[in-house]
Every structure is written in C-alpha cells, then in structure tokens.
Symmetry: C2
Subunit: 189 residues, 2 copies
C-alpha cells in the first residue's frame, strides 16, 4: 500500500482528502506509512486541511449515521409531520438529500417519494393499519436532491374497515406525485 516515490505537498494533501473520504478509519500512522512521510507531516496536513483526528472522524460517522439509520430505515413516518387531523387529513415535509438520489442524475429515487406518501397515509388513518392496495400512483415530474417535498393527504372515503386516502406531493406548488391508497384497519385504537 505504500508509495515508493514521494508526492509533493499539494498532491499528497489531495490524495489524503480522497483517502480519508473513502476510509475515515485510517490513523495518522497508516497515512504516514502510505505516503512514506513522517507522522508530523501528516498532522500538519490534517491541520492545514482542517481534518479532525481519527477518533473524532469515527465519532462523526457514528453520530451522523446513528440517527440516520433509525430515522430513514426505521422511521414510523418518513418526513416531518407538520399538520394532522386524525381520520381526515395531514401534511408532511421531506427535505430530500443527495443520499436519496441516483448519483449520476441527482434525481430522487421513486421509493423515497412513495415512502413519504405511504407513511403519511398511514399516519392520517389513526389505527393499527395494514396497507393492502394502492392504485393510480403517478410520478408527475422528477424530483432533484435538495427539493423540499410537501405531501398532503386526505381521506376521501371510509367503507367499513377500508380507508381510501389520496396523497399529493408538491415541490414549490408544483405537483410531482399523486397516489391513491387503500388502507385496511386491523385493530382500532
């Protein structure tokens, strides 16, 4: 893994940034071996580049992802619920990030949008609910990472245990998504 020829300062620093971006778990010692320079040089480099020490980097990764995994994978609701009238309507907001998008196109993957819509629909129908059917979903125009999605859900019909919910999602007043969900209540609250 170590270089035979030494790089100059700026090249080394660029490479250093790149390496740590790829693997934040490298110690100064690992890096000094890799670049075949002294450990002090690495520390000066980090100082100049404003890169924190290993432990802080690890902690950053841990903290950043700790909540993230819980909130994105494990969220009971995707996005932030800003208004809720149980059994009738609700609004949620989702700030999209590059994580949610295809790296090449920066277009947000459909299922992230779907997730917001579905979870909002489930929040509005206040009960232990099972989603059984969905019809007529449409992604009306592509969403770019960074766009703020505003989802509005309305219960349009209740027939026994079946709840029909329409969800529309907007970016700057422009509708980007619509979906009709059919939710079946398993156990009332």
């Amino acid at each position: 893994m170590s270089k035979t020829r030494k790089l100059n300062k700026s090249k080394r620093q660029n490479k250093l940034l790149e390496l740590l971006k790829e693997d934040p778990f490298l110690t100064d010692d690992d890096l000094s071996e890799y670049f075949n320079v002294s450990i002090q040089t690495i520390r000066l480099d980090r100082l100049e580049l404003g890169i924190p020490e290993l432990r802080q980097r690890i902690k950053n990764v841990a903290e950043k992802n700790y909540e993230k995994v819980r909130s994105i994978v494990g969220a009971e609701i995707v996005g932030e619920l800003v208004d809720l009238n149980l059994g009738t309507s609700g609004i949620s907001i989702l700030e999209t990030t590059p994580d949610m998008a295809f790296s090449k196109t920066n277009i947000v993957r459909g299922h992230n949008i779907f997730s917001q819509a579905e979870s909002l629909a489930m929040a509005v129908v206040d009960a232990e609910v099972a989603l059984t059917g969905v019809s007529n979903i449409k992604y009306l125009s592509p969403v770019s990472a960074g766009d703020k999605l505003i989802a509005k859900a309305e219960v349009t019909r209740v027939r026994g245990n079946n709840h029909f919910v329409h969800v529309k999602i907007y970016v700057n007043q422009t509708q980007v998504f619509r979906g009709k969900f059919i939710l079946v209540i398993i156990k009332g609250k």
Copy 2:
C-alpha cells in the same frame, strides 16, 4: 440525571446495558456519575457484561452504519440481484430485518417492500429510466421482520418508451405483493 439511591449490582448492570443500548456514546465517567458509584465499579460491570470501551462502541456504531446507510438509503437497488435478463426479467432477494418493521407489530413497513419491487423493475429495464406510473399494487399478506423476500420481475409489454413491468414478491412460495409498474425511458443506454 444521577440517582440518589444506589441500586444493587444486578439492577445497575441491567440499567447499564439499557443505557448504553440507547446511547452508546456514554463514557465510564458519565456512567459512574449517573449511578453514583466509582469508575472502577463501572469498569468491572463492563468487564462482566462484556461491553467494550467507549471508543470501540463508537467504532462499532460507525462501522455498522457506514455501509448500511450507503446500502439502504443509497442503494441503486434494494435487495440483492440474483438473476437478470436485461429487458425481460429479473430476480432479487431481500432479507428483512427488525429495522424495517414497526416495532410494535414486527410487520415490515410497506415501503420497504415497494422499494424492492420498484428498484428491481428499474434494473430490469436497462436504461436511464423514470418511473412515472404504477397501478394495481397489492400487499397480499403481511411480512414479518426476518422473512426473506424473493421478488420476480417480468417485462410484459413495451410500447415505444413505455415499459410495463410486473413484479411479484414471495415469502416461502407464498405471494405477498404484486405490482404493475410503468417505466418511461429517458435516455437509452
């Protein structure tokens, strides 16, 4: 946050496990203050319980979630692609985890299943694709955390830039989901 009354050993150790599960970023010092015992007692507790030191815990969190965030939030495809005939069909497998489920019921949230279906549909239609319409989705029976989802996608019709894809998902030969996707190619490969 500190207790006035001291707990006995086993209660303290139970609580300690609980605390660290909730917040792995607590130092021995934090804990010794919380329980109003000496730092050595905390260290003996950790030793007996097999709990690693703070830095190791942080590192574990970081490492565990480092790939996870990339693979779950940022995955181009949800699940593992095990078979692919470009333009015609594909199969993916998704091992569900408690993360994906509602904590109360252990039932996997619909959008996780949807994500697998949608991303498989997009993988099968090999092109830069935009998902525009979906119809007739049905969650046929609830999926529990731990179930292995096998998704099968088939391109049923191609009309110009529109590709119609059917996705069926099974758990142990039992169908749990079906969905009809309409994909529109933006730019051929």
